[in-house]
Chain length 452, copies 2
Amino acid sequence: MIDAIRAIVGPSHVLEGADCAGYSRDWTGVYPSEPLCVVRPANTAEVAAVVRVVADAGGAIVPVGGNTGLVGGTQARGEVMLSLERMSRIRTIKPDARIAVVEAGVVLQSLHDAADAHDLIFPLTFGAKGSARIGGCLSTNAGGSNVVRYGSTRGLCLGLEVVLASGEVLDMMTELHKDNSGYDLRDLFIGAEGTLGIITAAVLKLFPKPVGYATALLSAPDLGAALKILRALQAASGGAVEAFEYMPRNFMQRLAQHRPDLTVPLKTGDCTIMVELGGLDMDAPLAETLASLMEEGLVLDATLAASEAQRSTIWAIREASAEIKFTQLPIVDTDVCVPLEKVALFEAEVQARLAELDAEATDITVAHLGDGNFHYAVYPTHDDPAHLEAVRAVIDGVTVSLGGSISAEHGVGRSQLATLARHKSPIALAVMRQIKGALDPGNVMNPGKVVP
Amino acid sequence: MIDAIRAIVGPSHVLEGADCAGYSRDWTGVYPSEPLCVVRPANTAEVAAVVRVVADAGGAIVPVGGNTGLVGGTQARGEVMLSLERMSRIRTIKPDARIAVVEAGVVLQSLHDAADAHDLIFPLTFGAKGSARIGGCLSTNAGGSNVVRYGSTRGLCLGLEVVLASGEVLDMMTELHKDNSGYDLRDLFIGAEGTLGIITAAVLKLFPKPVGYATALLSAPDLGAALKILRALQAASGGAVEAFEYMPRNFMQRLAQHRPDLTVPLKTGDCTIMVELGGLDMDAPLAETLASLMEEGLVLDATLAASEAQRSTIWAIREASAEIKFTQLPIVDTDVCVPLEKVALFEAEVQARLAELDAEATDITVAHLGDGNFHYAVYPTHDDPAHLEAVRAVIDGVTVSLGGSISAEHGVGRSQLATLARHKSPIALAVMRQIKGALDPGNVMNPGKVVP
C-alpha cells in the first residue's frame, strides 16, 4: 500500500518512522499520534488516488490540517495520516463578489492577509490562526472570537469540494448564496471532522473590512452585569459587537503568573471582559455606553484601546488562553454552550458541585460570552481517571440540564465520544450512524472519531 | 390502515373522497393530488403514531403545510397526505433571547404578527405568507424577498423536531447558536421536502424590528445599471438593503392588464426595480443616492414611498407576481440562480436562444436581483410537452453554463426531477440516494420527490 501511495505523491511526500514526529505531537498532550505514514498530496486528484489505494487495501485515513484541534480529532494510531499542507493555494479572490476560492491547506492567517489586500476580511479568528488550516476549520466548524457577529465557519462557506470514501470527488464549489437543488450535502461535511470525506477546497465569504474597531478591556461585578453590558453595547452600536470575551479572576491570575510580559491595563476582579465593536466611529458609542454603565455600577473599571498597539495587547491577553491553560496538568478542559440567560446559573452550579467533589481544585475558565460558550477548565487535585471523568461529568451534567451543548465549537473528535454517547439522544446517534454507514461503509475515513 | 389512523387522530380528522378536494388543488394547476386520505394529527405523538402505522402497512406519506409550493412537492397519488394544519401553536416567544418556538403548522403571517407584538420580526416573507406554513418553509428552505439581508429559511432556524420514517421523534429543539456535538442533522432535514422525515416543530430566530423602512420603485436603463444601483445603495446604507426586486417590461405590462387597480407611481421601462432599506433614518441615504444616480443616468425615474400606504402599494405590485403569472397557460416557470456578475449575460443569452426556439413566445420574469435569483417564466406558443421541455432546457442550460443553480428557492419537488437528473453531478446524486436509502429504506417519506 505504501509503495502505491509513493507512486501517487512521490517518495519525498510519504514520511515514515521518525520523520512523522512533527505530526505526532498534539497541542493538548493527550492525543499523540502514531501514524502508519504521513502522506502529503499536492492536489485533489492525488488525494482521491490515495483514498482509493487505502480503501482498496482495507486501510484507514486520518486527515490533518494545522493539527491545532483540541479534541483529538486528528489522532492516528496505525492509520495513514493525510496532510493537506501542500494544498495551500488561494486560487482566487473576487472582491466584487466578496468570495475567496481556496484549497484546504491554506493557513487561516494567510487568508486574513490576502483578504486584507482587498480591504476585505475573512472574519473567522482564534488563537491558533497562524497554524490552523481552512480544511480543519471547516471540518470542525470552528468558532472563535467573532462568532457573535459573523457566525461559525459553517456560515462563512458557500461551496465545498470533498473527496469521498470511494475516492470520488464531490464538487460543490458553487459561488451562489441560494441553491435548493437537492439535499444540503455541504453542511453535512462541514463539522464532520473528516469522518465522511476529506475537504479539499472551498468557496468562502469575505466581508467589507470594518472601517474601524473600538476595543476595550473592562471589569464588571459579575456575569449578570456583563450580560447587561452586552445588551447595552449591541443597542448603542446597532449590533456591531464582534467579540465579547469573559475572563474570570483565575484566568487573570494565571496570566499574570505565566505571561508577566503582558501588561494588563486596568485593575481586574471577578469578571474581566474584552469587547470589540466593528464599524464607523464606534469609539464614541463604546466610551459613552461604558461611562454611563459605570455610573450605574455595572462597569467597575474600563480601558479603551487608543492605538492599534493597545488593541493588540488586549487581544494578546485573550489569546494567551490556550498557552497558559496547559501550564498545569492534569486538566479537564471543556467546550460547552448554554443559553445566554443561563450563563450565571451555569457558573454558579458548576462551582457549587465541583466544590463538593474536589474542594481544592482550581479552574481557568474563558468564555465567548456573547455566544454563551464556556471553556470551563478545571485542574483537579489528582489525576485518577475516574476522578477526571467525574469532574467532566459535573460540567457536562449542568450544561445538559440547562439545555446546553457539550460541544460548542471544538467538535467531538475522540475526547467527547463518551460524553456524546451519554448525553446525546440515542435517536440522533442512530441517524449519525446510518449516515456514516451509508457514506463510508468501509470505515476508511477517520475511524473512531465523532460517532460513538 | 385507515382504521388504525382513525383510532390515532379521531375519525373527524381523516378525510376521504370528496372531502379531500381542498387538499387536491395546486397553485400551479400542474400537480393536482389524489390522496388515499388526508390525516390531520393534533401533535407530534400523533404524527409519529401515524407514520408507524403507514410504514408498517407498506404505505407512504406526503406531508403538507399550506400547500403553496410551486414544484409539486406535495402532490399525492395514492399516498396518505399528512397535513400539519392543526399543529399551529406558537409555543413561546422569548423576546430577550430573540427566539420563537413554533409548531410546524403555524402560518407565516401569524408568526409575523406574533413577533411584531414584541417589536421583533421573523424576516422570511413572500407572496404566499398568508397561507404558507413554517413546516413547509423549512422543508423547502424557502427564500423570498428578504434573503439578500437575512438569508433563506435555513439561516433563520436554530432547532428542529422531526418525525423519522421509523416513527421515532428526533428532538433537536436547541436554542443555542453554537453546537458542534455531532453531524449537522438539522440542515439535512431543512430543504429535504419531507423525503427524510416530517418537520413537526422548530426554534426560529427573531430580529429587532428595523426602526424604519425606506422603500422606492425606480426605473433603470438595464440590468448593468441596476447592479450599480444595488452596490451604491449597499455602500450608502451600510448593507441595509432588505429587498432588491427586478420586474422587466413584460411583467409591468401584464400587471397593468390583470391588476389595473394597482396604480404604478412612475413611468416604467425595460427595468423596474423595487428596493427597500431597513434601519434608522434610511430615507435620506435612499433619496440622496437615487438623486445622484439619476444625474449619472443610472436611474431614469424613481418614486419613494412617503407613507405606509404607498409602501404597501409598492409591495403589492411585486407580490402580484404569482397571481398574474398563471393568467396564461402553458407556462414554463423557473427558479434559477446565477452569480451576480452574470445576471445581464444570463438574460441576454436566454432571450437570444429562446428567440431561435420560439420567436413568438413571451415571458414574464421577476427576480430577486440582490441574490441573482430569477423566476424566468415563458409562455411558449404551443403546449407540446417536448416543446415545453425544450424551453426549460434553454433556461436551465444557460444557468448551468454560467455556474448557476436550476433550483434556487422553490426546491425540487416533482417538477425539477428531470432537470436535476440532467444537470446535477452524478456523484452528488449518488450521495443523496445513499442518504435517502439510509434514513428511509422503505421509501415511506414523500416518495418520488427530490431524489431523481
